[in-house]
Symmetry: C2
Subunit: 355 residues, 2 copies
Amino acid sequence: MPNDTPVAQPHVPPVIAVDAMGGDIGPSVVVPGALDAARGTGCALIFVGDEAAINAELATANSEGIDVAVRHCTQVAEMREKPSDILRRKKDSSIQVACRLVKDGEADGVVSAGNSGATVACGMFIMGRIKGVERPALASIMPTVKQPMVLIDVGANVDCKPHHLFQFGVMAEVLASDILGRVRPKVGLLSIGEEEGKGNSLVKEAFELFKMASLNFVGNVEGRDVFTGDVDVVVCDGFVGNVALKLSEGLGASLGRLLRNELTRGIRARLGTMLAMSALKRFARLVDYAEYGGAPLLGLRGIAIVCHGASNAKAITSAVHMAATFVEKRTNEHLIEKLSANEELTRYASAAADR
Amino acid sequence: MPNDTPVAQPHVPPVIAVDAMGGDIGPSVVVPGALDAARGTGCALIFVGDEAAINAELATANSEGIDVAVRHCTQVAEMREKPSDILRRKKDSSIQVACRLVKDGEADGVVSAGNSGATVACGMFIMGRIKGVERPALASIMPTVKQPMVLIDVGANVDCKPHHLFQFGVMAEVLASDILGRVRPKVGLLSIGEEEGKGNSLVKEAFELFKMASLNFVGNVEGRDVFTGDVDVVVCDGFVGNVALKLSEGLGASLGRLLRNELTRGIRARLGTMLAMSALKRFARLVDYAEYGGAPLLGLRGIAIVCHGASNAKAITSAVHMAATFVEKRTNEHLIEKLSANEELTRYASAAADR
């Protein structure tokens, strides 16, 4: 249900609805994490969830000078529940209520570390899509050797058409420009060979669209190019992107564990590790996904940031920070401009996919 | 062109045709690497390529007691050439000649670090498929925290049907059992959630087949489970697998570089690094793909091991070693048995995919 009415004017300062019940730990991590971001950015917060639990956290935290409100609700979307069930049956769940705050113009965006599928579903069906967007997509900001890059889609759309991939690229280009500050971001298409003509049929067809568009398209990139930092945006379908994201997390964690095991064997290694500790800590920080907080769901009438279930307070801080920046930079308006500049091409490809 | 005649009896000891011209470096790496494997396994070698270049390497290497032959040919498959062009036009290229040695019964298998696509194409069209195999698949043996596992397909088939994925799993189970020595290998399907019903339409349909088969199927696994070592075989289409493989290589290399940068900053870190050096070296070995040599192409009438273009001598040694083990274990016979045990299910699904 794309919506033709213009996107609502954002609040100044931005108002972020925070799903206090989301995440493996809940309010005790979410509340202090969000407060930290509000202190840094000056945004206002509406915590959504069990009022008593939220107030208990607020009582022990320092919220001086921060514009904080609490919206009580009685239900929680569990991690194992199906998104469609949450959408249909849990009308008073914290994620639904938070999305409704955006729909009703009380907030500009939502941050949740709860059931990701539910956040995507509630974002799409309660907040609604912005004009011209067929499929909102999850963008993940990933660390690289040089500077962070955007991987899109990391799981919102598993079976895609070429023009979906194309819109993902258009939206992520705006993200790279507004949030990462890149000038003419380089956009690549994830494939299994650099040459044009390499890839599966989806990628080959998407390539043709990217070539024709007003984007700084650098062609196909391979898995090994994702972490070099030479490309700002890497586009793929949500199945491939989700596998890539979780594989990277898994590999990072596994390598870290191996390294730790190796470095605690033997007295020389242990002594060496102590001396090299600050360097190892810097290394750990570079591969720490919490630095980048959450994955923005692009293409909604409002902002939704999907955080990892295992988010710590720092990850929540980063996510709320990102949401506020999104509002301040008027990223959604830029998305609309960029999408409409490529509207004809998208419409043509969409019609071709239906034939 | 699947072939109904039985697979030829393997030579004792195994005879491996080695594409001496393959790889970024060529004979100076391939010849000593293969000789090392022959010394370890007792297999015989036929080096295929430019006779003068091969003999020059043999003259400086120690080939005492090894059964070595040289098959001269005049052409080389370049890395950038299209596999179909090599197949059609370069009849005297080292990879074609090597595959023909297997077809003609002079060798049991081929090892090449040349153009991977050409090796796959020549393997399929010159050596031919074994009975019942619709799509030969590339299996990669990957390091994990615990023990190596098999990822299949890593690039031979980019657009797959459910029964292709199913056959990949059946073939890789035999590999895990024969080459990695696993008893009742655990087979997982790469998806974006553990629960049944998660994934794209390809994976959801393949899940149904795996459930019905005589395999130790453990259900869906996610990207983060690949490197834990808890599953022996992870099945995916060749696009996803190739992205996953190259992403892992890229991430491993990037993390290694970051770590090196961090550990050479400052005098304390440098001193610490010196003390921890042997531990760091063990870590590097654990993430070194050369340990596992090459990717076997499963489903051919013979054996083909596809090595990385950047293979060093150690990687070639591992690959030739794997080829010899393949022959000795009679892995192709086991493949045929296992495939025919699941023949009815495959045929049913293949017919369903055509409807």
